[in-house]
């Protein structure tokens, strides 16, 4: 199977899995617009390569390796969408399909350059969150201001934005994305790197999130809080 097709499958399984837990063959077929028979065949190949756990008649779920890969492609997909809509001003309805075709050929280097050029955007034009990159940096300015290439060693931990923690869940700040003034403001209020934080609650309608830090509670705009990435406590990322 071509790597392109493989990545598309992984993305679909990620999407469906996030909603339904396990991705059924029929659901994947509907999502990919292919016949269930080809899905079964593809899933067997993916399972052989170690990207998915496949159980016939039940469906598939991603392995750690598969999840990593799917997330990476998703990140590229959404970055490309921002690029297509904000820079090239391509009609919003078309950016998804365009990005779908481009995402598989993007190299790490190009992805990083694209992220820099777009000033590390937080969300795609449709409002979905863009994952943090896996470079071993603690803030975006490390990338944005670099003149010589940084070391390409990658983080071994998977980071999530603080907004995707569950109420009551704790995490440790690992990375703050965004421009200097916001980062400075957050830092001054006690949200420094390696600080433990707790998501207290999310206001309805993706309003501000309430974050507990250093025995105080801060209400932070959802879009700003999206920039605060933590390594979540209580579950190990694959």
């Amino acid at each position: 199977m071509a790597s392109e097709q493989l990545e598309e499958y992984l993305e679909s399984i990620l999407d469906i899995g996030e909603k339904e837990g396990i991705a059924k063959t029929s659901a994947i077929a509907r999502c990919m617009k292919v016949s269930p028979a080809s899905v079964t065949e593809a899933l067997q190949t993916l399972a052989d390569k170690g990207y998915v756990n496949y159980e016939p008649y039940k469906g598939a779920s991603l392995t750690g390796l598969g999840r990593e890969m799917a997330r990476k492609v998703k990140r590229r997909h959404r970055l490309l969408e921002v690029f297509l809509s904000d820079v090239l001003h391509i009609n919003r309805e078309n950016v998804h399909d365009e990005a779908c075709r481009m995402e598989h050929t993007l190299s790490d280097k190009t992805e990083c350059a694209l992220c820099k050029m777009l000033h590390a955007p937080a969300r795609c034009p449709h409002g979905s969150l863009i994952e943090a990159c896996d470079r071993d940096v603690e803030s975006c300015s490390a990338c944005l201001q670099e003149t010589t290439p940084l070391s390409t060693c990658t983080r071994d931990e998977h980071l999530v934005p603080v907004t995707s923690l569950k109420p009551g869940q704790k995490g440790t700040i690992a990375f703050i994305r965004g421009d200097n003034s916001v980062v400075q403001r957050l830092t001054d209020l006690g949200l420094t790197l390696r600080t433990d934080v707790q998501l207290v609650r999310k206001a309805p309608l993706s309003g501000p999130v309430e974050i507990g830090v250093r025995k105080t509670r801060l209400a932070i705009d959802h879009a700003i809080a999206d920039h605060i990435f933590v390594s979540a406590c209580g579950k190990k990322a694959g």
Partner: protein, 660 residues
């Protein structure tokens, strides 16, 4: 405290020389830690206090007379960091840095010591003599937090005084410490950063010419490293090379740490603060009661359905409660006053009769129409502020405010606008971006303030029915949302999201709520009563002399033709520009009755209130907007709102004619 100012000798160890010099003491600290409460205790001045961050936007001054010393106390707005970003933070920063107070009293919240000491460390770098007051000790004790203030004092190198400002505890000790400090001038120890940072600070210090920037050299060096624009600009004037070298150093630090240099320094300060807290603080019972109370209330107040319901009930309740209690007090007052002398129109007669009659009319109108409604209104508002609910409104409505290009913090000025537009306009300073600030102030001028509430309740609720009064409010709220959306489209500038601290709830303290209500009512009575009496004399006299006719005739195309109101209302609206409640007085003085249903039809009463609600903001508001944003914007808002008032009034009278 000032009572024992003449007493000498009850304090051992301090010789108090008679000193005619006036000392200046500034109160500084994070937002909502009790600076204003401490200020009130020290000076006896009633500075408004409330349970939300950003209450004090302008510095307040009071005098502490203690042991024969005169000390000017300055209450500064709350500040989280000296890398100041919003106006309120700049006020504090500039005062401490430029005006060189004799002592800075840094007030810290005992329950959030780590975040508060971060600021203490920054303050220390400014080199002012300092005292630390650890406030809200009672709340900390409830949470099982114990703080060793003696040890903290030893570690910081300055006096540390535990206080409970709302109860006045520790204030005597603090006053003593202040007196001592103006003579001893204790300055805190320097907190060293990491080696790579210290090396660079030292190199910059070696290059700095004496007195560059007018700050302590170490502070200037740190600010240069942080790339603070003001400091860079100051230093560049004197020594352009140093600014450049500092920026090169900053770049090096960024490379070492892989994060912006501001973050590096903040991170180091927080580490120092963590170390201090570990030394001086003990936590005994982790499962604390106060936090769980806040948590329990928040479960309701921030609930996706119940929370909004609570919000609507609160605002609705505010209006209904004001009307019911107000009408009750008004009726009682009126029954007593009518025993003394009934209000009688007296158009002709001797000059003294006209004046006496005018004065009496004004007195009765102020006492029965304004005060009964304003007191219950302010009482309720003070409850909302003091309990901590106001910040929850911000959180709940943040999303909705985005639609108007604002964020949740703007709810605070808007809710305060129900009281008086002028302080509400000033409190717009808590919003960071200039465009958002202007937008918020514009919307604040449309919020029905207590004066407008008095008019709506006194005219429509009293003589049509309360539902039409509530309908007027509803129309105003819709108008605010619609205009907000339009203004957001028109005004250039980006929206910035909200970052705001959520204070714990506390049971409103009776003295504070009553004190706040008393303060606001007192200043109102001080203005309204005299202006009503004088205004009434002027109107009655002008009426008797026939001076009102030309004004009424001039305005008649608008008042009579467009709005369908009686001819005499022209003058009424002119008086309303001074204060909106004056419209009521003018009606009473001209028509000689407080029963408005005898002079206008229900439809006319509604339109009259609608126009009063929307047209020209009162003079004080125009001045406040002009002071904050310039005359052009103030006049623009005035014209826009007048046009809006006439337009909606003209439409309303024609529509209402079909129903009423």
């Amino acid at each position: 405290m000032s009572g024992c100012g003449n007493c000498e000798g009850c304090l051992t160890g301090i010789k108090t020389p008679v000193d005619k010099r006036e000392y200046v003491v500034a109160l500084a600290g994070n937002a909502n830690v009790g600076k204003s409460a401490t200020f009130n205790q020290l000076t006896g001045v009633d500075q408004e206090i409330g349970n939300w961050p950003g209450k004090t936007v302008e510095r307040a001054e009071g005098l502490l007379q203690y042991r024969g010393q005169r000390i000017r106390v300055i209450d500064l707005p709350g500040i989280y960091s000296i890398t100041a970003l919003s106006t309120e933070e700049q006020v504090s920063r500039e005062f401490i840095a430029h005006d060189h107070p004799d002592v800075v009293v840094n007030i810290v919240d005992a329950s959030a010591l780590e975040r508060n000491l971060f600021f203490t460390l920054q303050l220390g770098e400014l080199g002012s003599p300092m005292i630390v007051a650890v406030n809200q000790m009672d709340l900390a004790t409830q949470k099982g937090i114990r703080i060793d203030s003696g040890k903290l004092s030893a570690l910081l190198g300055v006096p540390v005084i535990p206080t409970i400002a709302t109860q006045g505890k520790g204030i005597t000790e603090l006053s003593d410490a202040i007196i001592r400090a103006v003579h001893d001038r204790p300055t805190p120890y320097t907190i060293p950063y990491g080696k790579e940072v210290e090396d660079r600070i030292r190199s910059i210090l070696g290059l700095l010419p004496a007195g560059a920037g007018g700050y302590p050299p170490r502070w200037t060096a740190i600010k240069l490293l942080e790339g603070d624009p003001d400091t860079l600009w100051e230093v560049r004037k004197q020594a352009p090379d140093i600014a450049q070298t500092a920026q090169a150093y900053a770049r090096e630090l960024e490379k070492i740490h892989g994060e912006p240099v501001g973050m590096v320094l903040s991170g180091e300060r927080y580490h120092a603060s963590e170390r201090l807290v570990a030394e001086v603080m003990e936590i005994h019972t982790p499962g604390d009661q106060e936090a769980s109370l806040t948590e329990r209330i928040d479960r309701l107040a921030l609930h996706p359905v119940l929370g909004y319901l609570l919000l609507i009930l609160t605002i609705g309740g505010l209006l209904v409660w004001t009307f019911i209690i107000g009408a009750w007090i008004s009726a009682i007052l009126l029954s007593y006053l009518s025993l003394i002398a009934p209000v009688e129109p007296l158009i002709t007669g001797s000059v003294s009769d006209v004046i006496m009659n005018g004065a009496w009319t004004g007195f009765v109108a102020a006492l029965t129409l304004i005060i009964p409604y304003v007191i219950p209104f302010y009482l309720f508002l003070a409850l909302i502020e003091d309990s901590g609910f106001l910040t929850r409104f911000s959180l709940m409505l943040d999303r909705g405010m985005h639609k108007m290009g604002l964020h949740g913090k703007a709810i605070i000025p808007l809710v305060l606008g129900f009281g008086c537009t002028v302080p509400a306009c000033l409190s717009c300073r808590i919003i960071e971006s200039p465009t958002q600030k202007l937008l918020a102030a514009f919307l604040v001028t449309l919020v029905p303030c207590s004066a407008r509430t008095v008019v709506i309740l006194g005219v429509v609720a009293a003589f049509v029915n309360i539902w039409w009064a509530l309908a007027l409010y509803l129309f105003d709220f819709i108008l605010i949302v619609v205009l907000g959306r339009i203004a957001f489209r028109v005004l250039p500038g980006e929206s910035v999201g909200m970052i705001m601290e959520m204070p714990d709830y506390h049971a409103p303290s009776l003295p504070i709520v009553l004190g706040q209500t008393y303060q606001r009512t007192k200043s109102l009575i001080g203005i309204v009563l005299p202006s009503y009496i004088v205004g009434s004399i002027v109107i009655t006299a002008a009426y008797a002399l026939g001076l009102l006719e030309p004004v009424n005739t001039l305005l008649s195309p608008v008042t009579v033709l467009l709005l369908g109101l009686p001819l005499m209302t022209g003058v009424v609206f002119i008086f309303g520009i001074v204060r909106k409640e004056m419209t009521l007085l003018a009606l009473v003085a001209i028509f000689g009755t407080t029963v408005f249903s005898t002079i206008m039809t229900p439809a006319q009463l509604i339109v009259f209130s609608l126009v009063t609600m929307l047209y020209v903001p009162c003079i004080s508001t125009i001045m406040a907007v002009a002071q904050e944003f310039g005359w052009k914007k103030a006049l623009g808002i005035t014209l826009l709102e007048t046009a809006l008032a006439i337009l909606s009034g003209a439409v309303a009278i024609r529509l209402l004619g079909l129903f009423l």
